[in-house]
């Protein structure tokens, strides 16, 4: 039964990805600029351009091109990058690995900090420290990542000389080398997420503290910490966990600005690189992997919520 539900969700996920693939493909073809011209340069002859288009299959009807590309993508043949002549799949997977590292590092920072600040603010709602936390987290969220990123570089890399400003990982670097390079980008991404997590936690804590069941638990004579973690947080964190799971998609494939500021070799930078070079086939692959990551993150969020809250009704099971 649970397998059937999962299967359904996976099929739905497949449909989502399929529709996205059409949109991605069409948009990539609508982009201005001719691939052959980009590859061969302004001076290339018309004959050379036509030959290259034929070689790349760009002269065939669009639906055929689409189906061909889709078949390749599903079977694992993602093609060769127009611009670097590298195989695309290993390239994307290497970048994906790096992005996962950065996402993990960010969550390690953002979750304890965001929840901690949110709980503090929620328990002290309306007091001075609550206001201070709310305003300061909101202020740093309001700053664009390239501003916070540059400020952090200035502070930690140039003034204090504690951390590297450049996070372009060496190809065969071991984890010990990587960690210092992860810290600044992860901090920058954390500053974006922090306010969301803190505010949601704060709202949850305030809401739950006013619930009758917290009074019931208090009247059992529980110690304040037990009351907080066993009763209040158990319920207050349900929506927070969902939001974190959803933000996973953004953390893995949406850190375009952060990766560019630090020169970090993740999916986001691969995306800007592909756009830069009019490397359509690479762009399509990166966009597709982004869609898959977002879809999986959303499914994960739904499943987590249903697992954690025994009351959850499965909306699509009616009739």
């Amino acid at each position: 039964m649970i397998l059937r539900y999962l299967l359904r969700r996976v099929v739905l996920l497949g449909v989502t990805v399929l529709i996205s693939s059409i949109i991605i493909f069409v948009i990539c073809r609508l982009l201005p600029g001719d691939v052959a011209r980009v590859l061969l340069g302004r001076e290339a002859s018309e004959a050379a351009l036509t030959a290259l288009r034929a070689e790349l299959g760009l002269d065939r009807p669009l639906p055929i091109q689409y189906l061909d590309w889709l078949r390749g993508f599903v079977s694992g043949d993602w093609g060769v990058s127009y611009s670097t002549r590298q195989l695309i799949r290993p390239l994307v997977f290497e970048r994906l690995h790096n992005s996962l590292l950065l996402a993990g590092a960010t969550l390690l920072l953002a979750i304890p900090l965001g929840i901690g600040l949110g709980v503090w603010a929620g328990r002290r709602a309306g007091k001075l420290d609550d206001t201070a936390i709310s305003i300061s987290t909101l202020a740093v969220t309001g700053l664009p990542e390239f501003v916070t990123g540059l400020l952090l570089i200035d502070l930690f890399a140039f003034r204090m000389r504690m951390l590297p400003a450049n996070s372009s990982l060496r190809p065969d670097a071991n984890l010990l080398e990587i960690i210092p390079q992860l810290i600044l980008p992860a901090m920058t991404a954390t500053l974006v997420l922090l306010a969301y997590i803190a505010r949601l936690t704060r709202a949850g804590v305030i809401h739950e503290l006013n619930q009758d069941y917290v009074r019931t638990a208090m009247l059992k004579g529980l110690a304040p910490f037990t009351l907080l973690q066993r009763h209040v947080l158990r319920n207050a964190l349900l929506p927070v966990i969902t939001v974190i799971a959803i933000s996973l998609g953004w953390l893995i494939s949406g850190l375009i600005v952060v990766e560019n500021v630090y020169n970090y070799p993740g999916i986001g930078r691969l995306l800007t690189f592909a756009i830069d070079r009019r490397d359509l086939i690479l762009l399509q692959a990166v966009a597709m992997i982004t869609v898959v990551i977002f879809a999986v993150a959303n499914l994960l969020a739904d499943l987590l919520y249903a697992l954690l809250d025994p009351r959850i009704r499965l909306g699509d099971e009616t009739r």
Partner: protein
């Protein structure tokens, strides 16, 4: 000394930078094993008082002055770990809404053992024993359940079990049965009385329900606007009230023998004073028929009417109980009425959504039969009461009539015009003729619209008036529900609950409907306000010839207001007829159970075992029926029996036997 002693207790709330003294100068004492009733309407401060005594006020409340002595210890001076130890050992609360009072994401077992403490194995055994003591049939299953998987009555039994672990010394029962059905309420009150007698804590029973207080409490205190106005043994209090407010409460209370057209209820005029601007003298003076200069000038002390009957009134000797002569039961038969609306064989099946837990366990929730073939006739200028417990299908019936829930099968017609099943398919003329008033006026009025704007829309849309004529009609509509015309400029947040409900009624009447469906329309109101709204409804019916379908769980209200009544159980009508014939005396065992729920030693329904599905073929009430006659009830659907004058009963027991049962009991 043993028991609870409250001395000069004053409690204040901080609201928007203002401190409001919401409870003032309360003195009372409750001995161990005694139950003191605390009676009052919303805003009286009764729940605040209960929470303050337990030291469980919300963060913006504090005890400003006074003492709360429990077995000689002043609870107001205890802090921190000592307070937590007291909470865990001696102080207990049974709250109004058990579902809200249980943690939704913890299993019952975890919540109970946490309160009991000690080794887990022992705690579980003890929890199971407590649940069994609270008359829960299958404790081990309940321990494994989450709160939302239990019925309301079961949830409250869990709370009661949690309350009676160890040796409680002080028990505050804050409207513990208000969210339950009358039949469940009866059983829960019996259980509470039993446990209090056994464990002997000092108990406060807080309730707006005077009848319940009379059943469980030996003495009762009446609170009004944060002050104790009268305290006496319950029998005294209800037979010889000495405070005009208590007298007014009792005169507002529908009870058998009162009829809207013969001896109407006497609601209390005016509204509760604003806690920020209390009157200088007696706080009840602005609403009191006896008030004079002295009352407006000086606050009366608590005066002894008898040694154990104290009353805060200068003129208590002048207070007379409201004792109208009982109404003569007039049975004007259903056949007198001109039919207005008829429903034929209405059914509605609802498939519940599955929870994640259902999915994991591979369960598919059984479809719920909300209506199982209901035939119904509503007559012009008559009130049809629809009664039954929650889940009996009465709200579904109302929604089918209005078209909010299309029936699964069956038809509804309005004097021979068939009505479309869904409200979207009904033309404006049909919408005009059928209107509805909901239970909660808070949610039924758009907070952004003034009263006038809310009334104008149906006048234009359904009444076909132009804007100017519509605006001229608004004052009439407000007067019809006894509100001053100036109220047209107010917004919902400037109205009291009773006033909002009157606006909702006025809005429904704007289109001059032939039929008004009222779904628990007075249930959320305080008794004094409820009485006023009931009288307004009765007056409108006399004046306009409108018909009502009045849905309620409150049989006293039905016996006061309705002309005819249908009794529903699990989606079926089990008895119907003129109200006097159906209710006095009740013949169908289910009607009898409903009516006797308010009596201390009335006949009780057996508790249905949720694990056993109800009989598919026989009488739906059979598993709970105290008069079931055996195999026949289980296997064969009961026949309709005609008691004459439109009075029909669906039961296997022959009429003479049903009548004889009422003579002997």
């Amino acid at each position: 000394m043993s028991g609870l002693e409250v001395q000069q207790l004053t409690i204040e709330y901080r609201v928007a930078n203002q401190t409001l003294p919401v409870v003032r100068d309360i003195n009372l004492s409750v001995g161990a094993g005694e139950t003191l009733g605390i009676v009052g309407e919303s805003g009286s401060g009764k729940s605040t008082l209960g929470l303050a005594i337990l030291r469980a006020l919300p963060a913006n409340g504090r005890i400003k002055a006074g003492q709360v002595l429990l077995d000689g210890i002043d609870l107001t001076r205890v802090q921190g770990p000592a307070l937590r130890a007291l909470w865990s050992r001696s102080l207990r609360l049974v709250p109004q809404n058990p579902l809200a009072a249980l943690n939704p994401t913890l299993r019952i077992g975890d919540q109970l053992t946490e309160a009991i403490g000690g080794r887990r194995q022992d705690a579980i055994a003890q929890a199971a024993a407590l649940l069994a003591r609270a008359q829960i049939a299958d404790p081990m299953r309940v321990l494994r359940s989450y709160p939302h998987e239990l019925s309301g009555g079961m949830q409250q039994r869990v709370m009661i079990a949690m309350t009676f672990h160890g040796a409680p010394r002080l028990l505050v029962l804050d409207e513990p049965t208000t969210s339950l059905d009358v039949t469940t309420e009866a059983a829960v009150v019996d259980l509470l009385a039993d446990l209090i007698a056994e464990r002997r804590p000092a108990a406060l029973f807080i309730s707006h329900n005077l009848g319940l207080v009379a059943r469980i409490a030996t003495r009762a205190a009446v609170l009004y606007a944060g002050e104790l106005v009268e305290i006496a043994p319950t029998t005294f209090l209800f037979q010889h009230p000495r405070h005009p407010y208590t007298q007014g409460l009792l005169a507002s209370l529908p009870h058998p023998g009162l009829r809207y057209n013969q001896n109407p209820l006497q609601p209390i005029a005016g509204t509760l004073p604003d806690p920020g601007a209390l009157p200088a003298g007696c706080i009840f003076a602005p609403r009191c028929p006896l008030a004079d200069e002295q009352c407006r000038r000086e606050r009366p002390p608590l005066l002894p009417a008898t040694p154990d009957h104290l009353v805060r009134c200068h003129h208590w000797t002048m207070v007379e109980p409201y004792a109208p002569s009982p109404a003569t039961p007039t049975i004007n038969a259903l056949t007198n009425g001109q039919p207005l609306l008829a429903a034929h064989r209405l059914t509605k099946t609802i498939t519940p959504r599955r929870t994640f837990a259902d999915l994991v366990r591979g369960k598919r929730p059984a479809p719920m039969i909300a209506l199982a073939g209901v035939d119904l006739t509503v007559c012009r200028n008559r009130t049809l009461g629809v009664v039954g417990e929650s889940g009996s299908g009465k709200t579904t019936l109302a929604r089918c009539i209005i078209g909010l829930t299309p029936p699964s099968s069956g038809a509804i017609e309005l004097i021979d015009i068939p009505l479309a099943p869904s409200i979207q398919q009904r033309p404006p003329e049909q919408l005009r003729r059928l209107q509805m008033v909901l239970q909660n006026p808070q949610e039924a009025l758009n907070p952004a619209l003034t009263v006038g704007e809310a009334l104008r829309r149906p006048l234009i849309r359904l009444g076909g008036l132009d804007r100017r004529t519509a605006d001229q009609r608004i004052p009439d509509l407000l007067r019809l529900v006894s509100l001053p015309p100036e109220y047209a400029n107010r917004r919902p947040h400037q109205l009291s609950g009773g006033e909002k409900q009157r606006v909702a009624i006025a809005r429904a009447l704007a289109a001059t409907p032939d039929l008004l469906v009222l779904d628990e329309a007075v249930s959320a109101l305080d008794v004094s306000v409820q009485a006023a709204v009931l009288n307004v409804l009765a007056a409108i019916k006399e004046r306009t010839g409108i018909a009502y379908v009045f849905i309620t769980h409150d049989l006293a209200v039905v016996s006061y207001l309705a002309d005819d009544v249908v009794v529903m159980y699990q989606g079926q009508i089990v008895e119907q007829g003129p109200v006097a014939a159906v209710l006095s005396p009740p013949l169908h065992p289910y009607t009898e159970v409903l009516l006797s729920a308010s009596q201390p030693d009335g006949i009780r329904a057996r508790e249905a075992d949720t694990a056993v599905p109800p009989p598919v073929s026989g009488c739906p009430f059979q598993p709970r029926c105290p008069r079931a006659i055996g195999e026949l009830c289980r296997t064969t659907p009961p026949p309709w029996r005609d008691a004459g004058g439109g009075h029909l009963i669906r039961c296997h027991i022959p009429l003479p036997d049903l009548r004889a049962a009422q003579m002997t009991d």
